[in-house]
């Protein structure tokens, strides 16, 4: 009894309290930069943003004013095309893993997807550069979108697999019992049931590539003019933020913050609505 109430006990209680406090402090420390960044982006971005930002092209170096209409279009082109090239193959590969993936082949694919998702995005840029840009002899929207698609692919694949696995087998059995062939049961019953969850995963993947900069530097490159072609170099918001941020011009810094505000809003809206979609589904069940 004396041991429990004595000094030893006090020491144990103190160590535990100190440790618990350290954990709380760590959590607070980690959340501080998030609010710091969001505050900066909101405050400086609001100062910098105006109508011209959305409608004008960049002015020649040294002149103030102008906007990033070309960058906004470029980001939409790149992300749209990357989604077209990255999502369907990713979903089908995920279907393969969920339906036929308990084989050695399945393990190889799963392993590749996991490893691919940890590869630095800048090396994806070098890959697409030597594969596409060197072959076509020009930087282009297609090259940039292909790089983004490679980054999306493993995420979409693994999300699709995991969500298909969550669908109860009894649904499939019911379909098969009605005489539906396996492939139709997979597409019309399993995939349809899992679709909302997969959509959320895809939103997160899109949000991630929308802010990617490094792989675009030498695939999509940049372009100071309006370009709606897919075969020309194109501007994009992330690359423009980078170029403007490291430039010495005050007015470009202002526009970099404005662009950051647009980009961060886009990414946060995608993330938060994905989160809300998941929560509503959980509530319904």
């Amino acid at each position: 009894m004396s041991r429990i109430t004595g000094e030893h006990h006090a020491l144990r209680k103190f160590t535990n309290a100190a440790f618990s406090a350290a954990c709380v402090v760590a959590t607070v420390i980690a959340v501080v930069p998030l609010f710091g960044i969001l505050y900066y982006v909101a405050a400086r971005g609001m100062q910098g943003i105006n109508w011209d930002f959305f409608t004008q092209l960049p002015k020649p170096v040294g002149e103030t004013g102008g906007g990033m209409a070309n960058g906004i279009l470029g980001t939409l082109k790149l992300v749209g095309l990357a989604s077209v090239m990255g999502i369907p193959p990713g979903v089908l590969a995920g279907v393969y893993l969920a339906e036929f993936g308990q084989t050695r082949m399945g393990s190889v694919v799963r392993f590749s997807a996991d490893v691919l998702s940890g590869i630095p995005s800048i090396t994806v840029g070098i890959f697409i550069y030597s594969l596409v840009v060197l072959t076509t002899k020009t930087f282009s929207t297609i090259a940039g979108a292909l790089a983004l698609a490679v980054i999306m692919l493993p995420t979409v694949t693994r999300t699709t697999e995991e969500l298909l696995r969550l669908v109860p087998e009894s649904l499939r059995e019911a379909a098969l019992g009605l005489g539906v062939p396996k492939w139709r049961a997979t597409l019309r019953v399993m995939l349809r049931t899992a679709a909302p969850g997969i959509a959320v995963g895809i939103m997160l993947a899109v949000a991630r590539v929308a802010g990617e900069t490094a792989p675009l530097l030498f695939t999509a490159f940049s372009n100071r003019f309006w370009s709606d072609s897919l075969l020309e170099p194109t501007a994009s918001l992330p690359v423009q933020i980078y170029t403007y941020a490291v430039s010495p011009f005050e007015d470009w810094h202002r526009q970099a913050w404005a662009a950051a505000l647009v980009l961060v809003s886009l990414v946060l809206i995608l993330n938060i609505s994905a989160r809300l979609l998941v929560r509503n589904r959980v509530r319904k069940q």
Partner: protein, 327 residues
């Protein structure tokens, strides 16, 4: 019992044997089609390895192993050595781990062992949002907020207190190794903490309860029961964080100062492998220059590939990773 009996299902033609065991044509086509797309994933990884090796062939042939030990980076003389960049990448990433791992473990413990249920999801979500902010926005914030703060507050304070160490000497510039490491640490914290959380969640609660029942405090339970069980998974989480830090490009390029030198002082500018590729790849003139940059990319690719394999193997011993998340 009859040795031969009629099947109710239409038998499958023999010549279709090599294509699989499906009776239904649609099934065979469906399986083949999805397999083709699954192979795209494998092909992307293999294609990357091959293309990058091909792109760096010239540099590999010219410099051989000397490439990673030479410190001269002189495009005019066509002399390329990657050591300053390897140094910058390794030091900034390790420093980032030193800063990020204790904080991340603290978060993981807070969220799994201490946090009231209503607070769990909001806090976890806020930390995941840190991972959602684009790298280039971190860089922008780094240039205009973090670097001045480091120059005016953190670096002078470090010099005043720990200035007798060679790491904390020299002019406080704001743009340098230390600022780079801090920004990397912020960026990898979500990765390390969310994987650590998965790992701690996978520790059977019976172990925890047994320890508490014996009168152990939270700290004692963690140290004597949970950590031994979760150790390999937590090491895996750390290595995944290291892999991310090594390959991080935009944010660190914008704050590390981009000078290929090896200085003991953490205040001095440095240069990382990813940064030199980002800065010089489009401007590189000459095949050897481009090939040298590609070889740096190949080294980065190979190292992160190995780290990822090791980390996933370690984490899988304890817990399943969240679906397809890029960690």
């Amino acid at each position: 019992m009859a040795t031969h009996h009629e099947s109710l299902v239409r038998p499958r033609p023999k010549w279709l044997k090599p294509f699989g065991s499906e009776v239904n044509w649609g099934d065979a086509i469906f399986r083949t089609l999805t397999l083709l797309f699954a192979l795209v994933v494998v092909a992307a990884l293999a294609g990357m390895a091959v293309q990058m090796l091909k792109a760096s062939k010239l540099s590999l042939a010219t410099f051989g192993l000397g490439f990673i030990t030479s410190t001269s980076w002189d495009p005019v003389q066509d002399q390329f050595g990657a050591l300053p960049f390897i140094f910058g990448t390794v030091v900034s990433s390790l420093l980032a781990l030193v800063l990020a791992v204790p904080v991340s473990l603290g978060i993981a413990v807070f969220l799994t062992e201490m946090c009231p249920a209503w607070l769990k999801n909001p806090v976890a979500f806020l930390i995941e949002l840190l991972a959602a902010v684009p790298s280039v926005v971190y860089g922008l914030w780094g240039i205009f907020a973090l670097a001045p703060f480091m120059r005016e507050v953190v670096e002078p304070a470090l010099e005043a207190t720990l200035g007798f160490l060679p790491f904390f000497q020299g002019p406080a510039q704001g743009f340098g190794m230390l600022t780079g490491a801090v920004i990397l640490a912020i960026m990898i914290t979500p990765t390390v903490s969310s994987v650590s959380r998965e790992v701690l969640n996978a520790v059977p609660s019976t172990l925890r309860e047994g320890s508490y029942a014996l009168g152990a405090t939270r700290w004692e339970t963690l140290r004597t029961v949970i950590l031994p069980f979760a150790r390999s998974g937590l090491v895996g989480a750390t290595i995944l964080g290291l892999g991310r830090a090594l390959g991080e490009t935009m944010a660190i390029t914008m704050v590390i100062g981009n000078r290929p030198q090896m200085s003991a002082s953490l205040f001095a500018p440095s240069y990382t492998m990813a940064s030199v590729i980002a800065n010089e790849f489009t401007e590189a003139t000459g095949d050897l220059y481009l090939s040298a940059l590609a070889e740096i990319g190949f080294l980065l690719f190979a190292v992160t590939l190995i780290l990822n394999i090791v980390a996933r193997a370690l984490v899988w011993r304890v817990a399943r990773l969240p679906a397809g998340g890029r960690l």
